[in-house]
Symmetry: C2
Subunit: 298 residues, 2 copies
Amino acid sequence: MSAVDFPAWSREVAGRMEGVLAGLVPSARITPSRLHDAMRYAVLDGGKRVRPMLVFAAGLVTGARADRLEIAAAAVELVHAYSLVHDDLPCMDDDVLRRGKPTCHVEFDEATALLAGDAMQSLAFQVLSENRLADDPDVQLRMIQLFALACGSRGMAGGQAIDLDAVGKPLTLPELENMHIHKTGALIRASVLLGALCGSPLDAERHAHLDRYAKLVGLAFQVVDDVLDEEGDAATLGKTAGKDREAGKPTYTSLLGVPGAKQFASDLLAQAHEALSAFDANAVRLRELADFIVKRDR
Amino acid sequence: MSAVDFPAWSREVAGRMEGVLAGLVPSARITPSRLHDAMRYAVLDGGKRVRPMLVFAAGLVTGARADRLEIAAAAVELVHAYSLVHDDLPCMDDDVLRRGKPTCHVEFDEATALLAGDAMQSLAFQVLSENRLADDPDVQLRMIQLFALACGSRGMAGGQAIDLDAVGKPLTLPELENMHIHKTGALIRASVLLGALCGSPLDAERHAHLDRYAKLVGLAFQVVDDVLDEEGDAATLGKTAGKDREAGKPTYTSLLGVPGAKQFASDLLAQAHEALSAFDANAVRLRELADFIVKRDR
């Protein structure tokens, strides 16, 4: 998948993921239908598939097999999609529009959306354990552990709790960064590390460089999200715009202003490229992805 | 732990689990405090710990190490507790009392309860992957897979979806059974199988007997729950009584009457003992537990 340019490659990954996820999430013909229907609604046909792209791009660095990468990527995307379903619920962000469609609880109902999210998390761990992802099963157990940590109270779910707690409060830049390291950064970091772990082992130094890249890209992703939320409109974003500001949530644009946030994103991008300097041409997709994440318009 | 009588053994398991869970769920001193506080509130100091007892009792049959069993039992109890937290939410059963205390969303808030449940599921998979549970790591991967299946859309979460769908509808006995096989049966079955898998491998026949025992006990558990819900009061149950009937939910007592449901529970108990007939004295706790599950008064 490396002879093509980045847009073609990213379409290829997105297309492959659609097929993989459609195969992994049970059909709505299987009981309980409405639950399976809601799970499919939440994860299929939507999103930029940035995390799966990160899994595949990191796997390229360690020569990982595509059939393993697609499973790791599916697990990450299932958890990402479940977190959006729960995040959109009335008791959380109470959002009605996501990826240009009604949110899951609007299309179905709150109870079904809650259970669909719960079941998508279980399914992520099921696919990570029922397929062979690494030659050494102990490495695979470490991958599951790493992923579980990224999902839990000291990862993504913890980041959402910090976010809840921050509404209407002035945060310092380090506090805001701490929130995002957890809320979006943890799963983005897990995407990169899982992708790499599907292939040949990296030495400690290269692993640390890759980890640094992942953290920088995760943070940059959120900074750009804040800029887009401030500048975008619902039609381009596929979700309600200006929502965070209205909700009194601290953002990079509220702390740094739009130009300051844009500058911060480009500094992070430069550092992400620097972190990859020890890698050869196999890291090309990781480099392109960092550019894509910072320069995207939705 | 087998020289003592059943009440002493069950207190020993419950006491041990309290310590294990208190050590596994992060302290409220660790950020995000409110989330960790809610997780501890939901899983500590409560419940009969029936599932951990099943893990330990099954482990006795295969000579499993207690330090492995306590981790498997903690994972099951974390998922059980998370399912209660989500089940009690206003969009589900909207319950205010659980184990004699305000439910998690009443004590904290809905968003925190939602995230606490989410993070407890992640933590269950974390503990199952970060500790050595079987000599063969491939067996451990199979344990995680089995557990994920029991939690997901074709297990516990699926059972809750079937339950939602059944409110106010007349169900046949097989339909009611199908709901409970998923809703409560899946996790009870997983408890028994995980406990056994922590020890020496069972041959296929004995594994099938144990699986049959687990399914029978899971169903009996629910039948007795329905009887207690019909006959009990909030003080004894530690939760709102008669709730299922009021909610128009189909139950064993509504289909069979109280005497019919009690008879059904004793038939299941007899079959559970029959399923254990191929096992020796090491299955004593499994036998006692079946009796306990059917004869309990709360």
